[in-house]
Symmetry: C2
Subunit: 336 residues, 2 copies
């Protein structure tokens, strides 16, 4: 079932068979020969070997996607966008998951480099950890030095093309909107102290409230992991403090979910006992009761944009694409 078999069966040379099947740039094949080749290929159930093609052509048809956890709706929505855009571009998606360990990203980039993936989209959030970032930066430089192109989703600190979500604007807008609904006493489930996205959201939220005259006290800002479990832990810590705020802001929806679980466990109802807001607008949550107030990020579009950015012609300096966010007020923050 190799191309040679097809050529022999069709009574033509290997070159002609190749040109007939995969079409050549300027060479063209006589119709009758082409038909014979195609017929032979069909009869022998021939399938080109993508690895051999990759070798001969010097480029592959695969695109790498690096995420922390594909089960997280944030990443799976982005992945859906990447899958769609890659499909349109005729590329296969290779999924690389760190399983929640940011330090694995650079290793995954190396892996994708071995595969000679044509482009890489990195969806995981950046940490304020120079060692890890340097490692990743090095791996990316390495990958790009052999012709690969990269797009990053998140903070543009790696010197590569990036899709930048406007977290600060969104969190600020959210704070104002909630203040407008009468809330004055807030707590923040803030995520990890070194997680840049988490920090952006926290700081902008806090900053906007301070400007509005409702500053969030330090002890109402609780760090945790960026996960469901982190939301649970942080909410429990908050509850242990005694006095409940009027509104709890979790820096992402999955954490808000964790907070909901911890709250329910303690008999706290949302929004009757405390209001709750998140960030991301995970689609699975759009219909639950009470509907969660959040800041929408068009995640599927972000995935598409990142893929297109990675596939665009290389430019000498990093391009940044800003993605606007949008506050979505729902029942979890009915107002006071």
């Amino acid at each position: 079932m190799t191309l040679s078999d097809v050529a022999r069966e069709a009574g033509v040379s290997l070159a002609t068979a190749s040109r007939a099947i995969n079409g050549s740039a300027n060479r063209t094949v006589r119709a009758d020969l082409r038909d014979r080749v195609l017929a032979a290929a069909a009869q022998l159930r021939y399938t080109p070997d993508a690895n051999a093609q990759a070798m001969a052509r010097g480029r592959t048809t695969s695109l790498g996607l690096v995420v922390h956890d594909i089960a997280d709706p944030y990443f799976s929505s982005i992945a859906a966008g990447v899958a769609r855009a890659a499909d349109r571009a005729g590329l296969q998606v290779t999924l690389a998951s760190t399983q929640h360990d940011p330090s694995r990203e650079s290793g995954l980039v190396d892996l994708l480099k071995r595969q000679r993936a044509r482009a890489i989209v990195i969806a995981g959030g950046r940490l304020d950890d120079e060692a890890t970032n340097d490692e990743l930066r090095a791996a990316l430089a390495d990958y790009r030095s052999v012709g690969g192109s990269v797009a990053l989703i998140g903070q543009p600190i790696l010197g590569v093309d990036s899709i930048v979500v406007d977290n600060a604007q969104g969190a600020g807008d959210l704070a104002k909107a909630l203040h407008g609904r009468g809330y004055r006493r807030f707590a923040i489930l803030a995520g990890p102290a070194d997680h840049l996205t988490a920090c952006e959201r926290r700081d902008a939220f806090r900053g906007a409230l301070a400007e509005l005259g409702s500053p969030v006290p330090d002890d109402a800002v609780i760090t945790s992991t960026f996960t469901h479990e982190g939301g649970e832990d942080a909410m429990r810590a908050l509850l242990r403090r005694g006095e409940l705020p009027e509104l709890v802001f979790a820096v992402n929806d999955v954490m808000a979910l964790g907070a909901l679980a911890a709250g329910r466990e303690a008999g706290i109802r949302v929004p009757q006992d405390v209001a709750l807001a998140g960030f991301d607008d995970i689609s699975t949550l759009r219909d639950v009761v009470p509907a969660l107030t959040t800041v929408r990020i068009p995640l599927v579009d972000v995935g598409i944009a990142a893929t297109e950015l990675a596939l665009a012609d290389a430019s000498d300096e990093p391009r940044l694409t800003h993605v606007p966010t949008q506050v979505v007020l729902r029942d979890s923050t009915p107002g006071l």
Copy 2:
């Protein structure tokens, strides 16, 4: 940055460099030579070319995963399991998405065959559509004839190793449990008439209720797509019928979500006005209020099991692994 460069730099032959870096079965390399090679490789930032290795070795290190939509929590949870198991086995995951078009599955299998993926996991649900199934069967036979192995998640109708979720048992158990909570008048948002999983769940649920003396009338069984939108449409159709049942069973959680949306739109509260149950136990929904009664499928484990099944030594006849389900009663069905 090819192996030849490394060999030259280290002053050894290509063969020795290869053996030093990627190890050989029985051949072993003298320590000092090996160190020289490794040093040269590090200095030149050499990375093996996976495509060339694949050609030379005759096998790749990639595993294909076919889904309908990676943004759907059902598939993304399975994907997380597949990713984890593949990682443990040292394999890369190639994600192939039909974008909701079952007839594309066979084409994706062809694509994965071209890539010479070592194994394929097919996660999409089967339809009662012989044309499509035959096509997929043919593509799989083709793929297996060149040494590929396959595992299917769902109905074992394709003659390949399969992970079989016990939908009937789960749906039957659910019906009994709900009947036990006092419900007598049911409606079913049944999904597509030709979707085997949907049918299994619908029929088992209905059958169990009939046995219990609370049969579900035909006009209370509403077909739709297997999606969120399908749940919405079906719920709207149900509401148009006028009289509300005591409990609505959506054949999957995502559809239940759609039903919730349609219900809210019409001012129907769950569970006060109508109780609601789903199927799958999507993890994102475990904490929402009201918590959704459902049937748990250990989706991540299913993904792991499917991967391991696909990677196991080939057997002459299809192996079936049955996965138990578990009814989870929550607040959306408090009982009458």
